[in-house]
Structures are given as C-alpha cells and as structure tokens.
C-alpha cells in the first residue's frame, strides 16, 4: 500500500515535470513572439508579403501561403494514396499481406526527414524541371515529398478506422447485393468517415510542421506562389533558414512565426480530436 502510494507520487512528479517543461517552452515562445506581433500590428504581420528584416518589415503572408499550399498539396496526395492503401489492405488484400504491410508502412515514418528531402532533390526535382518546366524546386515537389512523409500517419489511422467498422456491416451490405466496391463507398467510408477525417487532419498537422525536407525541395523563394511549379518558403523553413543570424526584432519575428505555427497545429490537432470524439460519442450498441 505504502509503496503503491510512493510509486504513484514519483510517477506524478515525472508526469508533471514533463508537462510543465512543455508548458514552459510554450510560454517562452509566446513571451518572445507575441510582443512583436502587437508592435508591428497583427494585420501587417499576417497580411503583408513584405518580409525584409533588415528594414524592419515583418510580413509573413508569403510564408503562410507557402505553408498552406504545400500542406494542402500534401493532404491531397496523402488522402488519395493513404485511403487507397488502407482500403486495399483492409478489404481486398489477403490477410497475410495486410499483416505484413502495415508494419512496413509504419516503418516509413521512422525514416529521417532529411532522407526524404535528399531523395526528393536528387530524383523528383529534376524530374519536375524536365517534365513540367520551372526550377523544379516547387510547391509540387514539396507537396509530393510531404505527401509521402505523412502517408504512414494517415494510412495507419485510416486502417484503424476502417477496421473498427463492424464486419457485420460489410457482410450485411454484400448479402443485400452490393459489390465489394459499392460496400466500400456506401458503407465503409461512410461509417469510418470521422476517423478518416481525423487521420487527414493529423497528417496535415505533421505536414505543416515539417521543416528539413521542405527546405530541401521547396525552393524557399519569398513570394506567394501562383502555380504548383513556383518555389515557396514555408513558415518552418523561414525559421530554420534565418535563425542562425537573426537578432533583436528579427529574432522575435521568427518566434512570432513559431507562435503562428503553434496555434495552427494546435487547432488542427484539436479539430482531429473533436472529430474522433464525436464518432466515439455517436456509436451505440443494441
């Protein structure tokens, strides 16, 4: 009894220090970043494309647009391939293949992002340059690389969501004369919808926060993209690229960029959580 309580207390201290560590980091970022937003003006900071730290111009709209573009691109690619993969693995592949492939897909998540970026620079970027024109370093290249990087996240959560759909729904549908494919679109995807949406949102959260691979393939130009072939700079890339020499207001503006990212990702994760909670709440038996 006494030992239980001791262990409980120790674990509580460990847990609290981990959480308070995170809270401290968050507080630090906000303390460093928020004042400059107020000084520059939120409108100016978020809606101006003029980023010229040496002149004191801090507008992050180009980077916001860049992050948004590559994240949406990655989401599209991630959705198409992950959903396809999850559907095939849970519905059509023999059970052995699915059991073997799922861990393999999850392994992809463990590959360092610099490797993805490197492969992208060496193969994808020249391919885009030759086939489609432009510099190759582009929204498209970043979207594809990010799409592949978030594939394990989305696939694995989507597989869980599809597997959570009772097998009796599938059999019931097929016994009523539905083909496998009709069952997928009309029963499975509908029943697993919230899990899949949550998976995609979490994937987007990962994509928008990714840095290294994006720096390598996105081109890092400071301008709003007008086509998929334009180079862009994302919020994360900008912090990583400039933090080495930034000081004073510039440094604070980079922290403010971090605050922006922090808020976006928190919102995305909260949305994902809310969507999957709603699903849990709606399920009932009997």
């Amino acid at each position: 009894m006494k030992r239980d309580r001791l262990i409980g207390a120790v674990l509580l201290v460990v847990a609290l220090s981990a959480i308070s560590g995170l809270a401290l980091i968050a507080a630090f970022i906000f303390r460093e970043g928020v004042p400059i937003i107020l000084r520059v003006g939120a409108g100016q900071f978020f809606l101006s494309t003029d980023w010229e730290p040496s002149l004191g111009h801090f507008g992050i709209l180009s980077m916001l647009g860049g992050s948004l573009a590559v994240t949406l691109g990655a989401a599209v690619i991630g959705i198409v391939f992950s959903l396809g993969l999850a559907i095939v693995l849970t519905q059509f592949a023999p059970p052995g293949l699915a059991a073997a492939l799922k861990p393999a897909i999850e392994l992809l998540a463990g590959i360092p992002s610099v490797v993805y970026g490197f492969v992208g620079v060496v193969t994808l970027v020249p391919l885009i340059r030759h086939a489609l024109g432009g510099p190759g370093l582009s929204v498209l290249a970043a979207s594809i690389v990010l799409g592949i990087m978030i594939l394990p996240t989305i696939t694995s959560i989507a597989i869980d969501a599809l597997q959570a759909v009772p097998r009796s729904y599938v059999e019931g549908s097929i016994a009523l004369g539905a083909t496998r494919w009709q069952t997928v679109t009309m029963v499975l995807l509908r029943a697993a919808r919230s899990g899949i949406v949550a998976a995609v949102i979490l994937g987007m959260g990962r994509a928008i926060g990714e840095t290294m691979a994006v720096i390598m393939v996105a081109g890092n130009a400071l301008a709003l993209p007008h086509s998929l072939l334009d180079p862009v700079r994302t919020l994360t890339s900008n912090i990583a690229l400039e933090m080495g020499y930034a000081s004073g207001d510039h440094r604070q503006a980079l922290f403010a960029t971090g605050v922006t990212l922090f808020v976006i990702i928190t919102l995305l994760n909260t949305a994902a959580l809310a969507v999957s909670r709603r699903r849990a709440g709606r399920r009932r038996v009997g």
Binding site: P95, E171, G172, A175, L176, G177, A178, Q182
Partner: protein, 252 residues
C-alpha cells in the same frame, strides 16, 4: 409437388482444406419452410452461406459439387453474384442494421438494384414491413436511426430489408437466438405468411422452433446431412438412430 427451386448435388464446402459440409444432396421447394437443425459446428451456417455465395469472401473457402438455382449452377463463372444475393436473401443471427435510418436500411438493396423511383421504393418498403410484421411499429418513424429499435424490431427490420428485394429463397441463420418469446412468435408468424411467396430455410438451434415453424426438417451432424423429411415425421419417427439421439438430447 412443384419443381425444386434449389437443388444441391454432391456439394462439399471446405475451409483451408477442411470440409465443413460434406457431399450434400438436398432439394428446396417453392413455398416450403425447411428447418435445419444440428449441434454446433455441423455445417449449418456454412451451408447457408454457400447458398448466397457469402463464403466467397473467405480466402480459405473452396467447394465442389453443384448448387442449382432454377436449374442454373450458382457457382458458374457467368453468374451475377450481386443479383444472386438479391434472389437468395440472408438474415443473420445477430441483427445488424446499417448505421443509417430505418428507411435507408430498407431501400439500400433496391437502390443497389438500380431502383430509384420514390413511389416504387415506398410501396416496396411498406409491403415488406407488412410481411415482417413491423409496419405498425415503425410507420411513423421511418427516418429515425435504425439502431434505436429494440433487438426484436431490428431483426424484423433485417428480414424486411431482405424482403423488399422479393427474394426466391429466404435463408435465416438462427434468427431468434437472441430474442424473447414474443419477438420470436412474431417472426415465426411472419414466416407462415411468407411461405406463400418464397422458400424459407431456417437454421435453428431450438428444436421446438423447428417443430413449430417448418414443413420439413433436415438434421446436420459434423458436416453430413443425416436425415431430411417432413417435420412431423422426423420428430416423431426419425429413421436414423443419430437423429433420435440428438432429439432426445444425447448430444449437442
């Protein structure tokens, strides 16, 4: 007697090479209620799922022999399996409506069959609910979620959503196993009315139900059809010792 609707000839069904139904010969006639009884693992479910080719979903399933539906082997390569499953409608032991409204559950099969006309859908729904003895209980709440119904109502809904398709054969796998006597009675009543329209194959673990609610009874044991005959005769004067042993409770 009329020509049989289903003729099973030397049909064997295996999972991973192990036979679950062995060399089965059986006929199912129009307008009859055939009960199938037998202890656990005797191949009853396997046989039913062979009739609408649901076993095809199982990667380890293989079969030999024939099952003729109106003279045509249902395992022929040119059979439209979706169409077959509409003609041979199946009801499971545990009622699982799809997670939609009552109405959407009922018209799902019709929509799959390409029927979109609202009046036709509504007519077929009302008729099927009537046959399933459910119309009065749900007519005012067709657009509520199906899972708010009681277990017995859900089972009748599952019967109705098969009946809207106007199947030739209705196969039911222990449809009353989780239900109270009143719901069971309603389902048995529905079967009486239904046999005017379709053949009924009723698998049941409850020999009393087989005695009450069928015209003929087949006794399965370990994948073999031991005996099949008119229900009254099979229950009073079984020709096989194994049947008799089962009926007096020697096993299962």
């Amino acid at each position: 007697m009329q020509a049989p609707r289903i003729v099973v000839q030397g049909f064997t069904a295996c999972f991973d090479g192990k036979p679950a139904v062995k060399n089965l010969d059986l006929e199912i006639f129009p307008n009859e209620r055939l009960a199938i009884i037998g202890p656990a693992s005797s191949g009853k479910t396997t046989f039913l799922r062979s009739l609408n080719r649901l076993n095809d979903l199982d990667h380890g399933f293989t079969h030999s022999g024939k099952i003729l539906h109106d003279g045509k082997d249902i395992y022929d390569a040119d059979v439209d399996v979706a169409e077959l499953r509409r003609k041979i409608g199946m009801v499971y032991a545990v009622p699982v409506p799809l997670p939609w409204s009552i109405y959407d559950n009922l018209v799902y099969g019709l929509r799959l069959a390409g029927i979109r006309d609202r009046t036709t859908l509504d007519e077929r729904v009302e008729k099927a609910l009537g046959y399933a003895v459910l119309w009065d209980e749900v007519k005012d709440r067709l657009h509520e979620p199906a899972n708010v119904l009681s277990g017995g109502q859900q089972q009748r809904l599952c019967i109705a959503r098969v009946l809207v398709l106007e199947p030739d054969v209705l196969i039911l796998d222990e449809p009353c196993s989780g239900l109270d006597p009143i719901s069971t009675g309603k389902i048995e009543d529905a079967l009486v009315a239904l046999k005017e329209r379709t053949s009924i194959v009723l698998v049941t673990n409850n020999t009393k139900q087989a005695a009450r609610a069928s015209d003929r009874t087949a006794f399965f044991l370990l994948g073999d059809l031991v005996e099949v005959g008119p229900t009254a005769q099979l229950f009073t004067k079984p020709t096989q010792k194994k049947t008799n042993d089962y009926l007096v409770g020697q096993f299962g």
